[in-house]
């Protein structure tokens, strides 16, 4: 660069790179940032009003029953529980996939896991409804085939059913990043630890777990953010009392047509979700860069 100071700044721009990146740029700016910015602006106006105000944000503390805060708090708590449960279910599976199964078995296992996810989320949720409902498959098995229950039980429409379907729906999002971290873990590290006197628990604690942490964090973040923003599962499977924060936002936008308040709710959601993600990264000592790479 210093060799030829006469070169115009335009020449220094790599137009090839710019052109290649253009669709991405248009995508990010035009379809992501721009509408978000519009919503952000709206959140500072009252519906139909034209003065900037924090009223929409403050309204969450003023509403008589603190519905937003209650629903928000419950959603947050449940989402964290969902993320933790999904981790507990997915980790052993990921471990078996990465370290126990070989070649073809691996392929079959992945196929078995992934095939249900080739169909639409809605259809999968309806499949669960068909399983769990009072006249569903599970009750049929328990009552008519195994005869362990005298009469059918309604498994649907409660928080536990909702958690089950959530965990199922997001299992792969947890499993795959953990699998990929564990797959990258050299087996000789496990052997080395054993050779240096570590028992199974110590091998897990000092070798396997730290190596899987980027995947675990990435899985936790994915499951957390996606269940936090999920609408379908709480609506269809959740009970008469399981209002989710997204339903609240949907109500603002669609039922009440109050986009300004809906926007404010959305940005509170975004802020809290970002905060939790940041907290997760801090807690696990991971960086976003590392986690995204896994």
């Amino acid at each position: 660069m210093s060799r030829s100071p006469i070169v115009s700044p335009l020449r220094r721009v790599n137009w090839g790179v710019v052109l290649t990146a253009l669709p991405l740029l248009v995508w990010i700016v035009g379809l992501v940032l721009w509408p978000q910015l519009g919503l952000l602006l709206q959140s500072f106006y009252k519906v139909g009003g034209d003065t900037v105000t924090l009223a929409n944000y403050l309204s969450i503390f003023q509403d008589s029953d603190l519905i937003f805060l209650r629903v928000f708090g419950k959603t947050l708590l449940y989402t964290l529980a969902i993320a933790a449960l999904t981790l507990i279910v997915a980790y052993p599976m990921a471990f078996i996939l990465a370290k126990v199964l070989k070649g073809r078995q691996k392929l079959v296992f992945i196929l078995l896991l992934a095939t249900p996810f080739w169909v639409n989320e809605l259809i999968r949720v309806y499949a669960w409804i068909g399983l769990l409902r009072e006249t569903g498959v599970v009750n049929y098995l328990l009552v008519d085939v195994l005869r362990v229950l005298p009469a059918p039980i309604e498994f649907l429409y409660n928080d536990i059913a909702m958690l089950v379907v959530f965990v199922y729906s997001f299992l792969l999002l947890m499993l795959l990043p953990i699998y990929s971290s564990l797959d990258g873990l050299d087996d000789t590290l496990i052997q080395a630890a054993q050779n240096l006197g570590a028992d199974r628990i110590s091998v897990f604690r000092y070798v396997v777990w730290p190596a899987s942490l980027p995947g675990v964090t990435s899985g936790l973040i994915l499951v957390f953010t996606l269940s936090f923003s999920n609408y379908l599962i709480p609506t269809l499977v959740g009970g008469k009392s399981s209002l989710w924060v997204t339903q609240l936002i949907y109500n603002r936008f669609v039922v009440a047509t109050n986009w300004n308040l809906g926007a404010a709710y959305s940005f509170i959601l975004l802020a809290i979700a970002s905060l939790v993600v940041w907290g997760l990264l801090k807690l696990t000592g991971q960086s976003l860069k590392k986690v995204l790479g896994s």
């Binding site: 629903v71 409902r133 009072e134 006249t135 008469k240 009392s241 047509t257 109050n258």
Partner: protein, 383 residues
């Protein structure tokens, strides 16, 4: 006021079900349309509908496309708010014809200016409509002297009952009868509150027409209905969110009693004769969905062609056949299959017809209160 509404519903039913006198026009209209089709005067282009499931049956769409050469694209919505949101987002662009409920049109138009007035001169045969219904729709959808809607489909919501399990049901109050604990389903939306208010002896529609400024009064009524529904919550298996969910719950015998649409009830009756749609003693809740044209509609020729097409009785009759929806077109009953006729007449004896409670437009402030209580109901713990 009450008298006027009674008169209104009477006339509707007089024409739609009980008399066949109005159907004299049927043949004429059909003949005229047949002529038009014969000339091969094809419109072409695309017609983008924003409507409810069941309002645009495939056979009708195919027939319309064949007659006019117009390509029809249908987008389904499940909530009036969705229509408003979609059109609000684009300033009325993206669709050519929408079907909001009439009680929603005025407020949406005043707030967001998303529709355009109907050009009545382009409705080929306005006389084919049940006049009282057409007038009501015109009245409720007039903004600044312009009419924005014509009727498309109407119906009611009331009680869907499995008479084998719950033979004595006749009132909204029965939804909260402890003997049906866990066997009841309804929506957590305004119709449920309206039913509860009627059960408690209030008339929410009269109130919103006569005292639109009285938000405190409205709130007090909503609060009472809310308390009543929270007490009732232990009875509810789940709040249904889609027509299909309501059908599944009733058809599988998981619930015995539901507050839902008449058409849903009649679909269920054809599957299981024990299940019936009943107009409760407090009155079924009557709604009218409309043809309303978004401000940014592109293909107005196709829009009016479609409205005129749907106003032909033989086409209008199809709506009832498939989904149990009722048409405001005189003589459409002639095209009903016998079993539907029987079901409709069974659900609506004359006294029930007279007692239909028609939804009236609500002020925005009322809706805010409604939304607040709808959510409170969902958050509340069942007793």
């Amino acid at each position: 006021m009450l008298k006027r509404r009674n008169l209104f519903s009477l006339t509707v039913w007089a024409c739609v079900i009980l008399t066949t006198a109005c159907s004299g026009t049927t043949t004429d209209t059909a003949a005229t349309d047949a002529d038009t089709a014969a000339t091969g005067d094809e419109l072409g282009g695309t017609l983008r509908l924003l409507t409810w499931e069941g309002y645009a049956p495939d056979e009708l769409i195919a027939k319309f496309e064949e007659e006019t050469g117009v390509d029809v694209e249908v987008t389904y919505i499940a909530d009036n708010g969705e229509i408003i949101s979609k059109l609000k987002a684009t300033g009325g662009e993206g669709y050519d014809l929408a079907s909001p409920s009439v009680d929603n049109v005025k407020l949406a138009q005043e707030q967001f200016n998303i529709y355009q007035p109907i050009d009545m001169s382009r409705i080929e045969n306005p006389d084919v409509l049940v006049q009282s219904l057409a007038e009501k729709v015109a009245e409720y959808s007039t903004v600044d002297g312009e009419v924005y809607s014509v009727p498309a489909v109407w119906g009611t919501s009331g009680l869907i009952v499995n008479t084998a399990e719950a033979p004595e049901v006749k009132s909204y109050k029965d939804l909260c009868d402890p003997q049906f604990a866990g066997r009841v389903t309804y929506r957590s939306r305004f119709p449920t509150f309206a039913g509860a208010m009627l059960a408690l002896g209030y008339d929410p529609f009269k109130f919103s027409l006569e005292e639109p400024e009285n938000v405190d009064g409205w709130r007090a009524m909503m609060e009472e209905a809310y308390t009543y529904l929270v007490d009732c919550k232990s009875n509810v298996k789940t709040y249904w969110t889609s027509r299909q969910e309501n059908i599944d719950l009733m058809a599988k015998g998981e619930t015995y009693l539901s507050q839902g649409w008449d058409g849903t009830g009649w679909v269920l009756s054809q599957e299981n004769p024990d299940i019936k749609f009943i107009a409760p003693v407090e009155g079924a809740l009557g709604w009218v969905d409309t043809f309303t044209i978004p401000a940014g509609a592109k293909n107005l020729d196709a829009v009016y062609a479609f409205i005129n097409f749907m106003y032909r009785p033989e086409n209008a009759g199809e709506l009832t056949k498939g989904g149990g929806f009722l048409s405001p077109v005189k003589g459409s009953t002639d095209y009903w299959p016998e079993e539907i006729k029987v079901l409709v007449e069974e659900s609506f004896p004359e006294s029930a017809l007279n007692n239909i409670q028609w939804y009236a437009p609500r002020p925005a402030a009322f809706d805010e209160v409604v939304n607040e209580y709808v959510e409170k109901l969902q958050v509340a713990e069942a007793n």
